[in-house]
C-alpha cells in the first residue's frame, strides 16, 4: 500500500494481533469483505429493477418521469463532494494533522446530513403527489398497475440507502468526537481509514442507484 504514515501516526496493537501491520491489514480487509456483502445486498434490488425494466418498459418510464430528477442529481453531487472531504480526512490523518482531520470529518457529516434532509424533502413531496403506493392512500398512477412495482422499488432502494447513510453519519460523528482526543491518531488512525472505505461505498452505491432509478428511460 502507498499509504505511508507520518511519525507518531499508527495504532495500538490489540492482543490477538502480532503487530500493527497485521492489525491494519485485518481491519481494512474486514471492511472490504463487509462491503462485498453490502454490494450483493443491493444487487438483489438492482436485479429486480432490471427485471421490471425489461418486463414493463412503458410503466417504468411513467414512474421514472414522476421522480424528482433534480433533487436526485443534487444529492449525487452532495455525496461526491462528501467523498472528497472524507478523502481529505484520511489524508490529513495519515499526515498526523489532527485538527484538519476532525474538520474534514465534520464537513463530511454535514454533507451527509444535507443529503438526508434533501431526501426527506423528496419523500415528503412524493407522498404529497400520491407517489407512494405502499401507503394505503390514492396512487397517482393507479391506472397503470405495473408502475406500482417500480415506484415501490424506488422507496425500498432509497430507504435502504438512506438507512446506510444515516448509520454512516452517526458513526462518523462518534468518530469525529473521539478523534479530538489527545494522541488519537497515534492509537486509532486505522479507524478513520476503515470508515472511509464504508463512506466511499455508500457514495458508490448511490452512483449506481441514481441512474438506475432516475436517469435511464427518463
Amino acid at each position: 500500500m502507498s499509504d505511508t504514515l507520518a511519525d507518531g501516526v499508527g495504532l495500538h496493537v490489540i492482543e490477538q494481533f502480532v503487530d500493527a501491520e497485521q492489525q491494519r491489514h485485518a481491519g481494512q480487509l474486514g471492511m472490504w469483505a463487509w462491503l462485498v456483502t453490502e454490494l450483493l445486498l443491493f444487487a438483489g434490488l438492482f436485479l429486480v429493477a432490471t427485471v421490471l425494466r425489461v418486463q414493463y418498459p412503458e410503466s417504468v418510464h411513467l414512474a421514472v418521469s414522476h421522480l424528482k430528477f433534480w433533487i436526485g442529481a443534487t444529492n449525487t453531487g452532495v455525496l461526491i463532494v462528501s467523498s472528497l472531504t472524507m478523502s481529505g480526512a484520511i489524508q490529513a490523518s495519515r499526515l498526523g494533522l489532527q485538527r484538519l482531520t476532525v474538520y474534514c470529518m465534520y464537513a463530511t457529516a454535514a454533507l451527509g446530513t444535507l443529503f438526508i434532509l434533501l431526501k426527506l424533502y423528496e419523500w415528503y413531496d412524493d407522498i404529497v403527489e400520491h407517489m407512494a403506493p405502499w401507503l394505503n392512500q390514492p396512487y397517482e398512477l393507479a391506472f397503470d398497475k405495473p408502475s406500482t412495482l417500480f415506484t415501490n422499488l424506488y422507496w425500498v432502494t432509497t430507504g435502504l440507502h438512506g438507512l446506510h447513510l444515516t448509520t454512516g453519519v452517526t458513526i462518523l460523528m462518534v468518530l469525529a468526537l473521539q478523534a479530538r482526543a489527545e494522541g488519537y491518531l497515534s492509537r486509532h488512525q486505522n479507524r478513520i481509514e476503515v470508515f472511509g472505505l464504508y463512506w466511499h461505498f455508500i457514495d458508490l452505491i448511490w452512483i449506481i442507484v441514481f441512474p438506475m432509478l432516475y436517469v435511464i428511460g427518463r
Binding site: E15, A33, W34, L39, G44, V51, K145, T148, L149, N152
Partner: protein
C-alpha cells in the same frame, strides 16, 4: 450452565488439568456469555445448535409418526404442514448452516493456522448474539402457532395466502443470515492475515480450506436471500407487489433469488463436512491425504460452481428449456470436484493402516452415504428423470442423504474426533462405535425406502397417501426410531464423559496438525509458545520422503 462450570463443581481441583486452559481460566456464567475467546464462542454455538437439533428432530419424529397410517388421521393437515415447516426451518437455518462452521470452525480455525484468536473476537461474540436473536424470532413464530409455508417460503403462498406468523419467522431468518455473514467475514480475514510464520496456503489443513470456501459462500450468497426475504416481508406488510402476480409481480423471481442463496447453502452445509472427513481419514489411515492440492482446489471449485446451478430447482416451473439444459449441464459439473474428493479419501484409505475408532466409523459412513446422495443428485440433474421424480420422496431421500448422511455424520464424526481437544475428556469408545454403526443402519432404513416411494410417485409434503405405500412408510418410520437412539446415545455418553470420562492426553489419536500440538483443552491464546510451522499438512509419513 456451562460444561466447564458444571464440571468444575463436581471434580476436585487436584484431579483436573492445570487451571490454565480456556475452560478453567474463569468460571462465572458471565465470563462465558461475554467471552471473546473463539473457543468459548464455539462451545456456546455447540450448545445452542444441539438444542435446535433436538427441536427439529422432535418435529421429524412427529412427521414420521403421522406417516405410519395412510389416511392422515393422526394430525390435521394444518398441523402436518406446520410440522414439516418447523422441521425444515429449524434444521436448515438453525442447525445445518451454523453446525460445523460456527462450532468446529470457530474453535479450530485459529488453532489450525496458529493464531491466538480470530481477527475480530468481539464481532465473533456479536455473531452468537445475532444468531440467538434470530432464533428467538423464529421460535416465537412457532410458539404463536407455527407457520405453514415450508422452509422455502415460496410466493405467492407466503405473501398472499398463508395467514400464519410468516413475517415473524422471516425476520428471524433474515437476522440469522447476518450471524453467518459475520462469521464468514471473520474467517476470511483471519485466514488471510493471521497465519503463523511458515503456515503457507498449501500447508493449511483441508478443514481450513473448506472453512474459507464456505466463508466465501456466506459473504456472496447470504446478502441476496436477505434482500429477497426483506422484499417478502415488505410484500406481506405493505403489498409492494414485487412477487404478487395480481399486481404484475413475478413469483418465479422469488424462486430465482431464493435458490441463488439456497443452492450455495447446500455447500455451506456439505463443504465443512468434507473438511472434517479430510481431517479424520488421514489420521485413522495413518497416511498423508492423497492429492492434497486437488482436494483444496476442489473445495474452491465446488464453492464456485455452486453459484451457477440454482436453476435445477426450477426445472418444472416454466423456465425456458435453454435455461434448464444449461443448468442441467452445470449441475453435472458439480459431480467432478465432489468425485475428486471421494476418490482422494478412498485413495488415502487404500493401503493405509486403518484404525476403526469412532470418528473413522462415522467418516466411512459419511463416504458411503455421500456417494449415494451424490449419485442420486445426478439423476435429479437429468431433465427427463427430474420431470418424473420432482417434488417426490425421491428428492426428500436425496437431500437427506447429503444433509444427514453427509453433514450430520461428519458433524458427529468431528465431534468425537475433537471432543478430547474441546473438553479434555475421553468418551466411552465402545458406546461411540455402537452409535456410529447404529446411525448408519438407522439412516439407511429410514431414507432408502423413500427413494423407492418417490420413484413410485409419492409426492412430498402430503400425509395422506395410497394404501400400497404404507409398508415402505412404516419401514421408514421404524428406521427413524433407530436413528433417534443413534442421536440420544452420543448425547448421553458425551455429557457423561464431561464428569466421569478419562482425562484426555494432548494427542489421543496420534494425529498431525497444530491443534494436536497444544494442550487438551488449549490455553487462552491457544499456544503456550507461538508456533512456527516447518512441516507440511498431514505429515503422517514424515520418515518417508514424499514422492
Amino acid at each position: 450452565m456451562t460444561y466447564a462450570a458444571q464440571r468444575d463443581a463436581h471434580v476436585p481441583h487436584a484431579t483436573i488439568d492445570a487451571p490454565k486452559d480456556y475452560l478453567h481460566i474463569t468460571h462465572t456464567v458471565k465470563s462465558w456469555l461475554l467471552s471473546t475467546d473463539h473457543k468459548r464462542i464455539g462451545i456456546l454455538y455447540l450448545i445452542s445448535i444441539t438444542g435446535f437439533f433436538f427441536i427439529g428432530a422432535v418435529a421429524a419424529g412427529l412427521l414420521r409418526l403421522s406417516l405410519v397410517v395412510p389416511d392422515g388421521s393422526i394430525f390435521t393437515n394444518d398441523t402436518y404442514n406446520k410440522l414439516f415447516t418447523i422441521h425444515g426451518v429449524v434444521m436448515v437455518w438453525f442447525f445445518l448452516i451454523p453446525s460445523i462452521p460456527a462450532t468446529f470452525g470457530n474453535f479450530l480455525l485459529p488453532i489450525m493456522i496458529g493464531a491466538k484468536d480470530l481477527a475480530f473476537p468481539r464481532l465473533n461474540t456479536t455473531s452468537w448474539y445475532v444468531f440467538m436473536t434470530g432464533a428467538l424470532f423464529a421460535m416465537l413464530s412457532v410458539l404463536f402457532g407455527g407457520i405453514d409455508t415450508g422452509w422455502t417460503f415460496y410466493a405467492p403462498l407466503s405473501t398472499a395466502f398463508s395467514n400464519t406468523y410468516v413475517s415473524l419467522a422471516l425476520v428471524g431468518v433474515i437476522i440469522v443470515g447476518f450471524s453467518s455473514i459475520l462469521t464468514g467475514l471473520n474467517f476470511i480475514v483471519t485466514v488471510h492475515t493471521m497465519r503463523a510464520p511458515g503456515m503457507t496456503w498449501f500447508r493449511m489443513p483441508i478443514f481450513v480450506w473448506t472453512m474459507y470456501a464456505v466463508s466465501m459462500i456466506f459473504l456472496l450468497a447470504t446478502p441476496v436471500i436477505t434482500m429477497a426475504l426483506i422484499l417478502l416481508v415488505m410484500e406481506r406488510t405493505f403489498k409492494i407487489g414485487v412477487f404478487d402476480p395480481a399486481l404484475g409481480g413475478d413469483p418465479v423471481l422469488f424462486e430465482h433469488l431464493f435458490w441463488f442463496y439456497s443452492h450455495p447453502a447446500v455447500y455451506i452445509m456439505v463443504l465443512p463436512g468434507m473438511g472434517v472427513i479430510s481431517e479424520i481419514v488421514p489420521a485413522f489411515a495413518r497416511k498423508r491425504l492423497f492429492g492434497y492440492k486437488f482436494v483444496a482446489y476442489a473445495s474452491i471449485g465446488l464453492a464456485t460452481i455452486t453459484f451457477f446451478v440454482w436453476g435445477h430447482h426450477m426445472f418444472v416451473n416454466g423456465q425456458s428449456d435453454y435455461a434448464s439444459v444449461t443448468f442441467s449441464f452445470l449441475s453435472f459439473a458439480v459431480a467432478v470436484p465432489s468425485a475428486v474428493k471421494v476418490y482422494n479419501w478412498t485413495a488415502t484409505i487404500h493401503k493405509g493402516t486403518l484404525v476403526l475408532d469412532t470418528p473413522m466409523l462415522y467418516a466411512m459412513g459419511y463416504i458411503g452415504l455421500f456417494v449415494i446422495g451424490g449419485l442420486t443428485g445426478l439423476f435429479l440433474a437429468t431433465l427427463a428423470i427430474d420431470e418424473h421424480v420432482h417434488d417426490t420422496y425421491f428428492v426428500v431421500a436425496h437431500f437427506h442423504y447429503i444433509m444427514v448422511g453427509g453433514t450430520v455424520l461428519a458433524f458427529l464424526g468431528g465431534l468425537h474426533y475433537w471432543w478430547p481437544k474441546f473438553t479434555g475428556r475421553m468418551y466411552n469408545e465402545a458406546w461411540g462405535r455402537v452409535s456410529a454403526v447404529l446411525m448408519f443402519i438407522g439412516f439407511n432404513v429410514t431414507f432408502f425406502p423413500q427413494f423407492i416411494l418417490g420413484y413410485l410417485g409419492m409426492p412430498r409434503r402430503y400425509h395422506v397417501y395410497p394404501a400400497e405405500f404404507q409398508l415402505m412408510n412404516i419401514m421408514s418410520s421404524a428406521g427413524a426410531t433407530i436413528l433417534a437412539f443413534a442421536y440420544v446415545f452420543p448425547f448421553v455418553y458425551l455429557l457423561y464423559s464431561l464428569w466421569f470420562g478419562k482425562k484426555a492426553p494432548d494427542n489421543p489419536w496420534d494425529a498431525k496438525g497444530l491443534e494436536w500440538m497444544t494442550t487438551s483443552p488449549p490455553p487462552l491464546h491457544n499456544f503456550i509458545k507461538p508456533p512456527v510451522v516447518d512441516f507440511e499438512a498431514y505429515d503422517y509419513e514424515a520418515k518417508v520422503p514424499e514422492a
